[in-house]
């Protein structure tokens, strides 16, 4: 067991703080008068308590009250936070929760209908059939070919 966990040390510490019952206090003081270990420990604790009065007394460099007051007044003059905004006046908080999902759903529905209508109208608008690019394989000049058939080197030699 470490010194600081000793029940006697805890009791002596409480004795120095005057946070011990009167009867226990008398018993402990009587014990400390006869026990060299407890007597020395009690003297050390009392001396330590006196040492705290010697701690450096540091202070803030300026009047913090003035600084805080200026900041609070600046916050106040910037406008009270409680003033209702335009959005709040137009849409009370009770309606605001329902309004946004309803607007979102209506927008999504309108966009869906418009896109669907465009798909249905597209065949009527296009007059020509789409030409398949793959059919170009059967053209006289293959896709990517540079010369017409008459001047093509390969065609001439084959004749």
């Amino acid at each position: 067991m470490r010194d600081e966990d000793c029940p006697r040390m805890i009791a002596l510490s409480a004795l120095v703080d005057d946070e011990i019952a009167a009867e226990a206090r008398l018993t402990l003081l009587a014990h400390a008068r006869h026990c060299p270990l407890c007597g020395a420990a009690l003297a050390e604790l009392r001396a330590l308590r006196a040492e705290f009065a010697t701690l450096p007394q540091e202070s803030p460099d300026f009047d913090l009250g003035h600084v805080i007051e200026a900041r609070l007044r600046a916050q106040t003059s910037a406008g009270p936070a409680s003033r209702p905004r335009l959005r709040d006046r137009l849409f009370p908080s009770g309606l605001r929760g329902l309004l946004m999902p309803a607007v979102g759903a209506a927008t999504a529905l309108a966009l869906g209908l418009q896109l669907g209508t465009l798909l249905l109208e597209q065949p009527a608008r296009s007059a020509r059939e789409p030409r398949l690019v793959a059919m170009a394989v059967f053209d006289p000049i293959a896709p990517g070919g540079l010369c017409p058939p008459a001047t093509c080197f390969g065609m001439e030699t084959s004749r």
């Binding site: 946070e19 003297a43 450096p56 003035h66 805080i68």
Partner: protein, 190 residues
């Protein structure tokens, strides 16, 4: 605090609760030194202590409308200050225990043992030793020895049982005495 000061304080609190900045400024002036020193001894940094002291008072202003006089106003301020300091130390990751024998000197090498315990040097040595304690021991010692709070008040302020305060104080004192003996190389008795 005498009766007149207590009455002044009660009046300023009531006015500040109704939103009067000048009344709150008077409260700040009354308590700024105490709050500043407490934070400085917890954090060890003067700049941080200045900033945290301001932050603590601004938080107190915001929370003031809901404050009820269940505890002393000063104790409530110290609680706000303590939480602010603890948050900062957690961010700095300095809350963990510093080992006693890490080779760092607690005192300046120049003054001898006799001088260390004389006058201001004694306070400086004690201050340095305090900073070497774990946060939880340092705060209970400061709240008890410097702020002179009762075990009940300390327990409420840091959110532990009174029995924990009692045992933590005993451990803190034993650790501090060990540090001081280590520093001076002598037994510390009054």
């Amino acid at each position: 605090m005498d009766d007149a000061s207590a009455a002044d304080e009660a009046g300023w609190i009531a006015r500040a609760q109704r939103g009067d900045p000048s009344a709150f400024a008077a409260l700040v002036r009354l308590h700024q030194q105490r709050v500043f020193r407490f934070i400085l001894r917890l954090t060890g940094s003067r700049e941080e202590a200045m900033e945290l002291t301001q932050d603590s008072f601004l938080k107190a202003w915001q929370a003031l409308p809901g404050w009820r006089p269940r505890a002393r106003f000063a104790t409530w301020l110290l609680q706000i200050a303590r939480n602010a300091a603890l948050d900062t130390l957690r961010r700095r990751q300095l809350v963990e225990f510093a080992p006693l024998d890490d080779g760092l000197p607690l005192s300046d090498p120049a003054p001898g043992p006799d001088e260390l315990w004389a006058g201001r040097q004694r306070g400086v040595v004690l201050d340095r030793a305090l900073r070497r304690l774990p946060f939880e021991q340092r705060e209970v010692l400061l709240l008890r020895e410097v702020e002179e709070l009762s075990y009940t008040e300390i327990a409420a302020l840091i959110g532990v049982a009174e029995g924990t305060v009692k045992s933590r104080l005993a451990r803190a004192r034993a650790a501090l005495l060990a540090l001081l003996r280590h520093t001076t190389g002598e037994r510390h008795e009054g």
